[in-house]
């Protein structure tokens, strides 16, 4: 049924395009009429931010290679280096009873079912349906969606389930005395194999311990701007870290860092 559905959706692509046109035109017009001073101002901010981010990225890459070296010493498996693809929301409304959005990348761009989708702040959801030029993404807040997470502070693992748009996620099956504090950051744990490990998901918003209940009622506020973000990132299936080091745009010197003190990376690589 899935290929049939995918084919029919591809066939009906023009309808989605026409339906998305009015809101797209409005967006484009408002971007067009943005004032010159505003743009200059934005540009300055972005330039400054990019400088800062670049510096941080350099440090991150050193840390990443160091981390991998330590992992290889421990004999544990390598983190995969993920590649990402930028996609844009198609401005149509889907089924009102579920939190689904349509994005403008599909089979022809290498999107597959179950891929993780992020925005600049954190995980947004995963791909549930792919057609030739578009795919459907289920958001974290959909009640049928659950995501395995871990608390950054202490590595405590849990599952966060959606409760509908505008509602926080909830952590299920957490004992009343579990070590969770308001403000803790949750990231993906990588268990289950759907989501890559280590991407931020949300922060703990509220912890309730209803009397007489076996489990705590813990709310998670998603970090991703689920109803604002227009550009989002698709995480493509990863390559081995070894192959991507050479391709890195900044900080070419890490290859030397790895090569100097670490054992050859390929030897300890286990699948």
């Amino acid at each position: 049924m899935v290929p049939v559905r995918s084919a029919v959706t591809s066939l009906l692509h023009p309808i989605h395009v026409i339906a998305a046109a009015p809101s797209k035109i409005i967006q484009d017009l408002s971007a067009y009429f943005e004032s010159r001073t505003q743009l200059q101002h934005d540009n300055e901010i972005f330039a400054a931010k990019q400088l800062l981010d670049n510096a941080r990225l350099l440090k991150l890459q050193t840390l990443e290679s160091e981390n991998n070296r330590l992992r290889s010493l421990l004999g544990s498996s390598f983190r995969l280096q993920e590649r990402v693809l930028v996609a844009e929301l198609v401005t149509v409304d889907l089924d009102p009873f579920s939190q689904w959005v349509l994005i403008d990348k599909g089979l022809s761009d290498g999107v597959t079912i179950n891929q993780a989708v992020l925005d600049a702040q954190g995980i947004m959801g995963q791909v549930v349906d792919v057609s030739e030029w578009t795919s459907t993404v289920v958001l974290l807040t959909d009640p049928s969606h659950a995501i395995p997470v871990q608390v950054n502070r202490n590595g405590l693992r849990a599952v966060a389930v959606g409760q509908g748009l505008g509602q926080p996620l909830k952590l299920i099956h957490m004992p009343q005395n579990s070590d969770v504090e308001i403000g803790d950051i949750l990231s993906t744990s990588g268990l289950g194999g759907r989501f890559p490990e280590g991407y931020p998901v949300g922060t703990i918003g509220n912890i309730g311990g209803p009397e007489g209940e076996p489990f705590a009622a813990i709310e998670v506020l998603p970090l991703a701007k689920l109803n604002i973000s227009r550009e989002l990132l698709l995480v493509l299936p990863g390559e081995k870290i070894t192959s991507s080091i050479g391709a890195k745009p900044v900080g070419e010197d890490e290859a030397a860092i790895i090569g100097s003190s670490a054992p050859p990376v390929e030897e300890t690589l286990d699948e």
């Binding site: 559905r5 009015p22 809101s23 089924d95 009102p96 579920s98 009640p143």
Partner: protein
């Protein structure tokens, strides 16, 4: 394909586009069930031409376009068309304002079926569209009747 069918198809296409058009989130509960309203109008006006199968296929089309579970809206629209056809002689006799009541209940019916996979949301997403659909029914009825008479669709 005769000209009649083409015009009926075009009204459906417009209704489908209106269903997909992006609305601000707070307004989504005020989106009328455009496709179902158009279906009901044509079923009442041309019961020999627009039947249950039209409802089924339009529903299936909407299922694919909205990314819903396949067959859910197909079933709902087919049922709505069936009910409209079952009572079309009575419904036709009512003045337009009085027709809004059966339309209201038909939309509630369709929305309840569409919500079976997400029972958490039964509430404003069901009665909101039903109220608004009932409110726009006289408008749709007038426009489509004008179209039908103008192009002599039979």
């Amino acid at each position: 394909m005769s000209r009649n069918i083409v015009i009926i198809m075009l009204t459906f296409l417009l209704a489908i586009l209106l269903m997909l058009l992006q609305l601000p989130e707070a307004w989504q509960m005020f989106r009328p069930e455009w496709v179902m309203l158009v279906l009901v109008y044509w079923a009442l006006a041309l019961p020999k031409r627009v039947g249950v199968m039209w409802g089924w296929w339009m529903g299936l089309l909407m299922d694919v376009l909205l990314g819903a579970h396949l067959g859910l809206l197909a079933f709902a629209y087919a049922l709505a068309t069936y009910l409209a056809l079952k009572f079309y002689l009575q419904l036709r006799q009512y003045p337009v304002l009085q027709q809004t009541l059966p339309v209201f209940f038909l939309v509630i019916f369709v929305k309840l079926i569409a919500a079976t996979m997400a029972p958490e949301f039964v509430g404003r997403l069901v009665w909101g569209p039903a109220l608004v659909s009932a409110a726009v029914w006289p408008f749709i009825f007038t426009v489509l009747r004008w179209l039908r008479r103008h192009f002599h669709i039979r």
